[in-house]
């Protein structure tokens, strides 16, 4: 019986992180639900036990149903019938299993029938589901939109929609349009208010909408006629039961083929306004995107985990020159790197989840009562860290997922290029992770201010202050040297106060910070559980150090004016 939770001991390690006690206490409001709901935890140990037991169910469904279905899902994919999407039958089977297990709406409060889980076990589920079938994670993970409804919609809307999500109705976030991709402030889909009917109507086209034929849509639309920028955009809920939206086509994608990516036509579709007008992009989509980015981080980690297992299992079986290929340094180095990058991404993912958990829960509590001054400080502290870690983690782990699946194919040699081997699908599935929910280049734009304002450095100093056992001191010294180099690099790039120069090197700065943080996280993991993490910590820090040196050399061995050579020559019309 394959179980994707129990076969990966890293999960339990992260579930038992010291900060979990505080996170769960806050989320459970000191376990007040235990007298109201028969499935609420009695105390911290009980909550953690429930997390583990429920994750075991997720692991079993993924190992026994979703993964075995994945190849067929990739081959068949969803189909279009009279303007509506039909999933591949296996996708539907996956969804039915998770609905029956009531694994939808995992983080929603119990009063809306949710499980009230913290982000950590929720993202672990996303991690596990992605390992089984990345395309299915897209559909399942869109339950995340429920968070946005929970945070910003009216009580009436929450009561109407949230229990439906728990029952298994799927969601989509309808943002992108043909002329509004990365640049969402150009969204044109029109929202008009009919005063006589007290009703909003949507008209226009959306493109590249994942799971676009969902039951409950969150739609970004222009509600203020004549505006052209972000301040004219509002957020709406479109309920499929009302009709008015049809799917014009399903895109034929390179990977994640099981997830329908749709072009939608809105024709006088009735919709409900969420929250306040004009805050659609500025506030709600930003929050929605942060959640989605965390989801893509988890998807990247899950794909990396699958890539590692494919590469390793192949390399211990395949014989060439009289021995199994994993005995060759050129092969085992690749596999060790995949393992290290996977572990580093995963450690970063759960660190970020803890930050998000802390600030979101405190924010939620602040709607119920006034926070104490200490809690307010805590909220500020973790909110800033979540803001800094989300784009950095999304960028790093999605790039790693690409590198890892690339290497997994390489380990397979010619076989890996054939459809017969799973690594071929993983390679295609990974390719989107560093593109959607903001490309790596855009994550760098979001992350760079935390380089210049010192958020990353401050956190790095906090890691540096954490003690480790003597035998790990050499690793810690390497990380200190990397940090010194990073500080110097930041100084070099920011001191000329040239914006283009900073933009040009931004990715090098952001990634350097990422390597150091991932190194420290693995160091802490190793300190607690050397057997599980020592190898990855050694391999990763070695790799990260070389990367930081490379970035440092790139900057120091070139001059500001060299940028000119990179600039394109744009032909005159």
């Amino acid at each position: 019986m394959a179980n994707f939770f129990t076969d990966t001991p890293q999960f339990k390690h992260y579930l038992h992180h010291p900060l979990m006690k505080r996170i769960v206490e806050l989320r459970e409001r000191n376990y007040i639900d235990k007298d109201r709901y028969d499935y609420a935890p009695l105390d911290f140990e009980d909550a953690l036990d429930s997390y583990e037991k429920v994750l075991e169910v997720v692991g079993e469904i993924c190992g026994e149903i979703i993964e075995p279905n994945a190849e067929e899902v990739d081959k068949t994919g969803p189909t279009l019938h009279n303007g509506h999407v039909q999933y591949a039958p296996q996708t539907q089977e996956n969804l039915d299993a998770l609905i029956k297990a009531e694994l939808m709406g995992m983080t929603l409060p119990r009063r809306y029938s949710g499980l009230n889980f913290s982000m950590v076990p929720y993202m672990m589920s996303a991690d596990i589901v992605s390992r089984a079938d990345a395309s299915f994670q897209n559909i399942w993970m869109l339950q995340d939109c429920g968070e946005t409804i929970y945070e910003f919609a009216s009580e009436e809307q929450k009561n109407k929609y949230l229990p439906r999500i728990v029952k298994g109705e799927t969601m989509s976030m309808d943002l992108t349009e043909p002329d509004a991709g990365s640049d969402l402030q150009s969204v044109m889909l029109k929202a008009t208010y009919n005063e006589a009917e007290n009703q909003w109507y949507l008209n226009g086209v959306k493109r590249f909408i994942t799971n676009g034929d969902s039951h409950i849509h969150l739609v970004l639309a222009r509600s203020e006629e004549g505006t052209k920028d972000a301040r004219g955009l509002s957020m709406f809920i479109y309920d499929k039961n009302n009709g008015g939206v049809t799917v014009r086509r399903i895109e034929n994608k390179m990977g994640i083929k099981g997830a329908p990516t749709c072009e939608l036509v809105f024709k006088n579709a009735k919709a409900e306004l969420v929250g306040s007008r004009r805050l659609g992009l500025i506030k709600y989509v930003m929050s929605l995107m942060n959640g989605a980015r965390l989801g893509i981080m988890a998807q990247s980690v899950g794909i990396s985990e699958a890539a590692y297992r494919e590469a390793y299992n192949y390399a211990i079986e395949r014989r060439q020159f009289g021995k199994v290929i994993i005995e060759f340094p050129a092969v085992y180095e690749m596999i060790a790197n995949i393992r290290a990058k996977t572990d580093a991404s995963r450690s970063f993912l759960y660190e970020t989840c803890r930050f998000v958990d802390m600030y979101k829960t405190l924010e939620d509590i602040s709607r119920e009562r006034k926070l104490t001054p200490e809690e307010r400080d805590e909220l500020k502290y973790y909110s800033r860290l979540a803001d800094a870690f989300t784009p950095l983690g999304k960028a790093m782990s999605s790039e790693f997922a690409n590198q890892n699946t690339y290497d997994a194919v390489q380990v397979h040699g010619g076989s890996g290029y054939m459809k017969d081997y799973k690594c071929e699908r993983l390679y295609r599935d990974a390719r989107i992770t560093n593109i959607y929910e903001g490309t790596t280049q855009l994550q760098v734009v979001a992350a760079i201010r935390h380089v210049t304002t010192g958020t990353y450095l401050q956190r790095i100093k906090e890691y540096e202050a954490m003690p480790v056992i003597p035998e790990l001191e050499p690793l810690k010294r390497s990380l200190s040297r990397m940090t010194q180099m990073y500080e110097k690099l930041v100084e070099l790039v920011t001191s000329p106060k040239d914006e283009e120069y900073l933009d040009f090197h931004a990715r090098r700065l952001v990634e350097s910070a990422g390597h150091i943080i991932m190194g420290y996280l693995l160091l802490q993991d190793t300190n607690k559980n050397p057997q599980l993490f020592r190898h990855s910590a050694e391999v990763y820090i070695h790799y990260g150090q070389v990367e930081v040196i490379k970035n440092y050399n790139f900057v120091t061995k070139s001059r500001i004016e060299d940028i000119g050579y990179y600039k394109p020559v744009i032909p005159a019309e």
Binding site: D38, Y39, E60, I61, A97, K100, A101, E102, L103
Partner: protein, 290 residues
């Protein structure tokens, strides 16, 4: 319309994933080396019961199992998937029972449970593979039985319509209620454990388990009565000790032999996908692989 459903289930060693140490030197099953699981076809039976409950909310499912104390795990597994109640039949006097003594004990427990409309059981258990217990229980209770069921197609208060999967095809039969139905592994797979029910019932224990373990939440068992799992002995079900366990079992194991498979017959296949597919299914069915 609601139904009272009893599901017979057994905890078995997982003989599907057999390692080198699966058999002891004396040829008996090394139970310690094999994980104890819910007998697979009993899960198919449970799923049929849950299907009836989905269709007729308010129907009640009771899982009944006989075995040692640790077989209470089967009751919890049932509750996690949507069963309403569980009974563990456990007593030293039940030990060593063959199918006759087992069906006697189960039938006595069913009499104690009282009213029921339908009894569901797996076709057979993967440890003994006799397929006798279900039919014998029906005989002892004097009710009709349908074996090899793949799907319960229709049920009302008077009768049930069932699709049977037989060697050479399917058969649709109807039968008056109450009845006993045994279910094949070709029936739809059992649903996963439910996250809420899992959290609700994870502390459910039998009295012996509560005495044996150090229980953290001892007050729960009075405030939440559903956490007390029924545990019945020979006396509880008014059984005659002479008809139970070893003394009630005419079947005696005389000798156990380790049989090493040797190919005697051969089959010739074309290379068509269908035939290869069929061969795979056959090998899985007869436990050669899988």
């Amino acid at each position: 319309m609601t139904f009272n459903i009893i599901v017979l289930a057994k905890q078995v060693p997982d003989t599907r994933n057999v390692g080198k140490d699966a058999m002891k030197a004396d040829g008996t099953v090394n139970r310690a080396a094999l994980p104890a699981i819910f007998n697979p076809e009993d899960l198919n039976a449970l799923e049929q019961a849950l299907g009836i409950k989905d269709q007729y909310p308010g129907s009640k499912i009771t899982v009944l199992t006989m075995g040692p104390v640790r077989a209470a795990e089967i009751l919890r597994e049932g509750l996690f998937r949507g069963a309403d109640d569980g009974v563990l039949l456990t007593d030293r006097a039940f030990a060593g029972a063959d199918t006759l003594a087992t069906s006697y004990a189960l039938s006595m427990a069913i009499r104690k449970i009282g009213s029921f409309d339908i009894i569901l059981a797996g076709r057979q258990a993967i440890d003994g593979d006799t397929a006798q217990v279900g039919p014998q229980v029906a005989e002892k209770l004097g009710i009709p039985q349908i074996t090899y069921t793949e799907e319960i197609q229709k049920i009302d208060l008077q009768k049930v319509r069932v699709k049977r999967r037989l060697e050479n095809g399917v058969e649709i039969v109807e039968c008056p209620l109450p009845a006993l139905i045994t279910v094949n592994n070709s029936a739809r797979a059992c649903r996963p454990r439910n996250a809420k029910l899992l959290q609700k019932y994870k502390h459910a224990r039998t009295i012996t388990e509560r005495q044996a373990e150090s229980i953290d939440y001892i007050d729960l068992y009075s405030s939440r009565p559903y956490l007390n799992l029924n545990e019945w002995s020979v006396v509880d079900v008014d059984a005659d000790p002479k008809l139970c366990g070893l003394s009630g079992s005419p079947t005696k194991v005389k000798k156990i032999e380790n049989v090493v498979f040797q190919a005697k017959e051969s089959k010739r296949l074309t290379e068509s996908d269908e035939e290869i597919d069929e061969l795979m299914k056959e090998l899985i069915r007869n436990h050669t692989i899988g």
